[in-house]
Structures are given as structure tokens and as C-alpha cells.
Amino acid sequence: MAIKLYGILRSPPALRAMAALFEKDLDFEFVPVDFATREQKTPQFLALNPFGEVPVFEDGDFKLFESRAITKYVAEAYADKGTDMVLKDPEKLAIQTMWMEVEGQKFDPTSSKLGWELYFKQMFGLTDEAVVARAGDKGGQKLEDVLDVYEQRLTESKYLGGDSFTLADLHHLPYLHILIGMKVKSLFDARPHVNAWASDILSRPAWVKVVSMSPK
């Protein structure tokens, strides 16, 4: 198969890339990387991504790492297929790009840290109720600030990047999914526009397909 995505099904960045591939109705082969044997640090894998991280994308001879570079490439290279995820007007695209940076620079650091503490620590049996609760409270505060900005933005704009669903929204899906399921759900309930937006994008068929593939 021409398109390959290397990753693991519990990696939020890998799921981010996968969501984009499904939105574009693209056929691809998912190639699992064996983290148990540290396959991601072998010379063969480092030749694909020198940082030893997933996902890695291959389209024929063309290789790419960094999930947000992969989604952009896919959205632009396959502009005529599936969902449009990159706005065409240059000024509208600039606004979309700005909100994509907000996800990468603001939403991701706080949500991934919180997500790690709440979700992955539970999964690996490191649960300590008190620790999790404390981490949630600590992480929750910064997330509140980001979501306040989102709440305001979403009163003025149907989606984060503009009037239609774009990569600016898609990039949030993996951690949004984790956070909605956790005790921080209350943060979203308190912000009606953010809550409506989150429900909307999490129910997209492409994302539902990603979730059906990933382990619980």
C-alpha cells in the first residue's frame, strides 16, 4: 500500500494523524511499532524519525514525522478527497493557522500533561487517588484559562479556525477525548460553547472510527 502510518494505537499524536487520514477517506496501512522492545529507538526506526517517536508517515518514497506536519501535508496533498480541512482564502488560512498554533502551544502542553497523569498513570497501575486528584487540580487550573479563551472564540466563530471544521479543530481530538472522559469534564460543562464544539467534533465519523480501533 502506498500510504503507511507507523505508530501505536495508544499514542495521541498517532491518533491525530490517523484522524486526518480517515477524514480524507484515504486507504493506508497502519504499521504497529513495538514499544515493548523499544523498536522506536532502533537504527531502522531512527532512519524514519530521528527523534525515535511516533507517528511516522510514508507516501511512496516520501517520509514525514511530527503529527501536525503530517495532517497538514495530507490535507493539502489530497485537497480533492474527503473533508476540506485547510481554508483557501489566505487571510482565513492565517486565522486557522493561528488557532492551530494555539492548540500546539497552549492546549497540548496542559492537556497532555494532565492526560498523562490522569489516564496513563491509571493504565500502568500507578494510581494514587490523592496524587491523581492533586495533579488534576493543578493541571486543571491552566486548562481553565485556555478554555476561557476558547469559550470566547467559539461565541464568535462556529469552529476554532473559522466557520468550518479544519485542522485547528482536528488536532484537539486525541486529548479532548481523554479529558472529556476524566474528572475534568466539569470544566467543559461549565463552558457551553466549548462543550457544544467538543461534542460536535468528537462525534465525527472519522474520529469515531479512530476510537473504535484504539484500546480502551
Binding site: P50, F51, F62, L64, F65, E66, R68, A69, K72, Y73, E76, A77, P90, E91, L93, A94, I95, T97, M98, M100, E101, V102, G104, Q105, K106, P109, D145, V149, Q152, R153
Partner: protein, 218 residues
Amino acid sequence: MATPPVKVYGPPLSTAVSRVLVCLLEKDVPFQLVPVNMAKMEHKKPDYIKMQPFGQVPAFQDDDITLFESRAICRYIAEKYPNKGTAGLFGTNPLVKASIDQWLEAESQSFNPPSSVLTFQLVFAPLMKLKQDEALIKQNEAKLEKVLDVYENRLGSSRYLAGDEFTLADLSHLPNTQFLVEKTDKAELFTSRKNVGRWWSEISTRPAWKKVVEMQNA
């Protein structure tokens, strides 16, 4: 001469502001630098928040558009003026552009976090009379070393990060590296690595960046 339509709000010493300034200078795009009095919390006041809802610098205006997030602003400038100043900052074809995006994301996700912490701890904290966190410094130095090892390897077979030409991916590294090399005792993280040292020497001596450093020292 008419006032340039492009306005950048914020002090040149801010790493994010300087990222935008160097991009405008590389592209020969005239601009007006508008001071923001951060000591007087001007960046947290309603008029400023209207432009930048997180209350940070820079904010950017061009004709009717207002933007924030320095890397989004750089992409906008590079795309709006592809033939002005330094060409190819954001690539001339989709595959090159994807490669630039890849290394720009690497800067943003892997290089920026540890180098920002080190810059704050080693340069700004002392200026603000804040106590330095030694454990945090050690932890982030180790993280940065791992990233620079990747760069050392990459720059052994590629003149610049994304290929043979200077692009936004390289440009984005200028602000934090300038501080670490010139204002801390961590310069050797960069200079002891042969290829990284060569790359730093090339990108930091570009006229546009030298002009930004002058603005920072003014």
C-alpha cells in the same frame, strides 16, 4: 513615506517578538514596532487582550487582519510575500513545504520547551530577581542535549534543517539559541557539537538576525 500597514506589538527582547521581527526583516517587509509596557501590565489590559486573548506578546496587524502566535505570523508573512526578500522561507513546492513544517514542528514541540525553560531560568529569572530552580535547569539541559544530538546528526548531511536552503525551520531557532549562546554559560551545548556549531554560526550571522540583536541591545 506612508506608515507601514504592518504593526508588531511587543519588546524585541521577547523571544516570540524577535521571531516575528527576523521574519519581517528577512522578507524586506516594512513594519512599525509598537512598544508594549509590560512592567505596567499593558499586555493584560482590555485593549491589548482584544488583539491577543492570552495577554502575551507579540500581537501583529496587517491591513485588516490581527494575528498572534509567532509561528503562525511567520507562516503568514512567508506565504503573503513569497517573492520578496529571502525566497523559499516556506518552500517552493508542497514536498519541501512539508519538510519545513516537519522541522518547524520539531522546533516547536521538542526544541522550544527545554530551551525556553533554560532561557527563563538562566537569563530572565536573575533579571527579575527570581530564585533559579537547579533541578529544572538540569532536567531541561538533559532534554535539550538529546534534541541537539538529533540536530548534530541531521546537520551532518544537510546544510540547513529542512534541506539546502535557510527556511522558517532554522529561523524559528534563532531567539532562544541567541540567549543561550550569548547570555548563559550553556553556549557549549551548541558550540561543542561540530555541525550544530557550524549551522548556528551561519544562521546567526545573517544580516536580518544581526539587526534584530541590535534592536534587542538598543
